[in-house]
């Protein structure tokens, strides 16, 4: 089974979406490694190496996503998994901002896929399938 690491980054404790993402991705047939809430970049990367994952799916709900996600791509490269796909979604910045701009900011940080608020995990399933080569 193909592996995917999920978790909620930073000092963020929003656990509901995380539990539902786990359930949904498992139902979709993936090996889901859920590192849960309050996870650091290192936690994500270590879990990805261990599980040989193709995708790291970062959730950030509480607004500090911009600070918490900076430098994550570099850390992946350092750790030797520079080509892993990085997803981010939830409510990734503080407040209602123009999403185009927000998206650019996260793409510039090295994320591959960036989702606006209100994108439930179901809506991202087709992207995941594509990146997994399914």
């Amino acid at each position: 089974m193909k592996s995917i690491v999920i978790g909620v980054i930073g000092a963020d404790v929003h656990a509901v979406g995380n539990k539902i993402i786990e359930y949904t991705l498992e139902n979709a047939g993936y090996n889901v490694v859920n590192i849960g809430v309050l996870s650091s970049q290192e936690d994500f990367i270590n879990a990805a190496i261990e599980a040989n994952a193709r995708i790291i799916l970062v959730s950030s709900l509480y607004g500090h996503g911009e600070i918490d996600c900076r430098g994550m791509r570099d850390k992946c490269i350092e750790a030797g998994i520079g080509d892993i796909k990085l997803y981010v979604g939830g409510n990734i910045v503080v407040g209602k901002q123009d999403f185009e701009e927000v998206c650019q900011r996260f793409l510039a940080m090295g994320f591959d896929r960036v989702y606006p608020p209100g994108t439930t995990i179901d809506k991202a399933l087709s992207d995941i399938k594509q990146d997994m080569g399914d």
């Binding site: 000092a11 656990a15 849960g36 809430v37 500090h64 600070i67 407040g95 608020p117």
Partner: protein
């Protein structure tokens, strides 16, 4: 030192206080000395004192309105508070950022400075500890209503010191309610111990004739929490607070969605909190209630969000809760602008003014639901007492360990996380999987029959899918998460 539900001695409290004040530079501030803070608190006019304004509202049966709000930069935060006061907020909050909640003051400092520089908020709240007493006093002095800190901090000792010394006369939180929904790996012993300190601080001020209000965080994870569970937690935290000398307590509840169940829950909460406080010998506490507008996932559409906010306000007013916490039309997207936040306040206030004085008459249905909640609460508290062999604090730790108390969707590993809630056919929140929840068999049978009724109606089997559908339902404009064909 083992955790027990005993009032901290003054000596222990003062000794610990010295250490707490070392945690961050703002703790050293001499304005935190009681010789400064007590006179400061004593000169605060009545209209800025939480406990007094709550009491007045309760006596008049009028539901007060309070938003959530907080931004990192002082000047912006003051503008925000003044804006919300003008919009009609009866009480003001200051929502604290998430780094501060985890005592990560260094990151909070960085976020605060950077927000100042780029002129865009990078923190999701006002970092009280980093701001220190001086700035917090400036906030209080810029407004004309009482101020409260609202956060989610397992260790809020320094935060509590700073806000109270600044004249903020209420603090939200508790050893359970600001741990289980807000942390992953902080043992309950630790957060309960820390909140004993926060309560003891309030008790200390009380001994000086200064009443500070305390508010357990009622909604917990805000997601399909059965009323008896959140009510039980609120009552337990009220008892712990009272032991430390707290006299003004506001217990809370997050709207569930069925109007009867919501009103029954508020009535049960007021009634049983008073009952248990009296039972345990705390006879002179003022108990009030707070109704939280829908706390789960919100609809994205702003007009739908306004519908939900106003509906919440209607139910809050009908329930005669002493206070309600409002939401904004931006809820599903992000921290609201002050305008969006004010929108929620104004709509809610308008509804209060139109509906006040009107109540839902006591019908059999309402009484039955209230009785059901009260029995469940009794069953849960009984288990806690048993588990702690008479000591409530110990009992709480044990009860969570064993899953006798269990909160759905909580991130904490000190929560068993075995229960699954789901709605019944009328939209009441019931329990589908009990784990080890401290319910008697007849209570469990009641929940099972209620949920089976729904499953039969929907022609499907009992499963986690019900819970998931109900997590999404309100945000997609339904109360019960029915399958497509229903």
């Amino acid at each position: 030192m083992e955790l027990t539900n005993k009032k901290m001695t003054e000596a222990d409290f003062l000794a610990e206080r010295e250490k707490v004040r070392q945690e961050w530079s703002t703790g050293w501030d001499p304005e935190l000395d009681f010789s400064v803070s007590i006179p400061y608190l004593k000169q605060i006019p009545d209209h800025k004192i939480f406990a007094k304004k709550l009491l007045k509202a309760k006596q008049a049966s009028v539901t007060m309105v309070q938003p959530r709000a907080g931004v990192p930069v002082l000047s912006e935060h003051i503008k925000l508070m003044q804006y919300l006061e003008n919009a009609g907020a009866d009480f003001l909050p200051t929502t604290v950022d998430s780094y501060t909640r985890q005592n990560r003051y260094r990151e909070a400092e960085k976020g605060m400075r950077e927000s100042e520089q780029i002129g865009r908020a990078l923190l999701n709240g006002f970092p009280v500890v980093n701001h220190g007493v001086k700035n917090c006093k400036t906030v209080l002095e810029s407004v004309n209503v009482p101020l409260q800190a609202r956060h989610g901090t397992p260790d809020a000792r320094l935060l509590a010191e700073i806000i109270h010394a600044s004249g903020w006369t209420s603090n939200e939180g508790g050893g359970i309610s600001y741990n289980i929904p807000y942390a992953k790996s902080i043992p309950l012993e630790v957060s309960l111990r820390n909140w004993q300190y926060c309560d003891r601080l309030v008790g200390f001020y009380q001994e000086q004739g200064i009443t500070i209000n305390r508010e357990p965080f009622g909604p917990l994870t805000g997601t399909l929490v059965p009323p008896s569970i959140s009510n039980a937690v609120g009552i337990l935290e009220a008892l712990l607070a009272a032991e430390q000398g707290v006299k003004s307590i506001t217990v809370g509840y997050g709207m569930g969605g069925n109007i009867i169940q919501d009103i029954a829950a508020i009535q049960a909460l007021q009634n049983q909190t008073e009952f248990y406080l009296a039972k345990y010998g705390y006879k002179d506490c003022d108990v009030s209630t707070v109704f939280h507008q829908w706390m789960g996932g919100f609809p994205e559409d702003e007009s739908e969000a306004m519908g939900l906010i106003s509906l919440s306000a209607t139910v809050a007013t009908l329930s005669q809760a002493t206070k309600m916490i409002t939401k904004s039309p931006h809820e599903s997207i992000g921290i609201p602008t002050k305008e969006a936040n004010g929108f929620g306040v104004k709509a809610s206030k308008f509804v209060v003014n139109l509906v006040k004085g009107q109540t839902l008459p006591s019908t059999n249905l309402l009484l039955a639901e209230r009785y059901q909640i009260e029995r469940e609460v009794d069953s849960l508290i009984h288990c806690v007492v048993e588990a702690g062999k008479g000591d409530l604090a110990q009992g709480i730790v044990k009860a969570f360990e064993q899953g006798l108390l269990d909160i759905p969707f909580a991130p904490s590993r000190y929560n068993l996380g075995k229960i699954l809630p789901a709605r019944d056919n009328d939209g009441n929140i019931r329990i589908l999987e009990f784990g080890n929840l401290g319910f008697t068999d007849d209570i469990k049978a009641f929940h099972r029959s209620k949920i089976s009724e729904r499953a039969a109606f929907e022609n499907r089997t009992l499963s986690f899918q019900l819970t998931i559908d109900d997590v999404y339902s309100v945000s997609t404009g339904k109360l019960v998460g029915r399958p497509k064909n229903r």
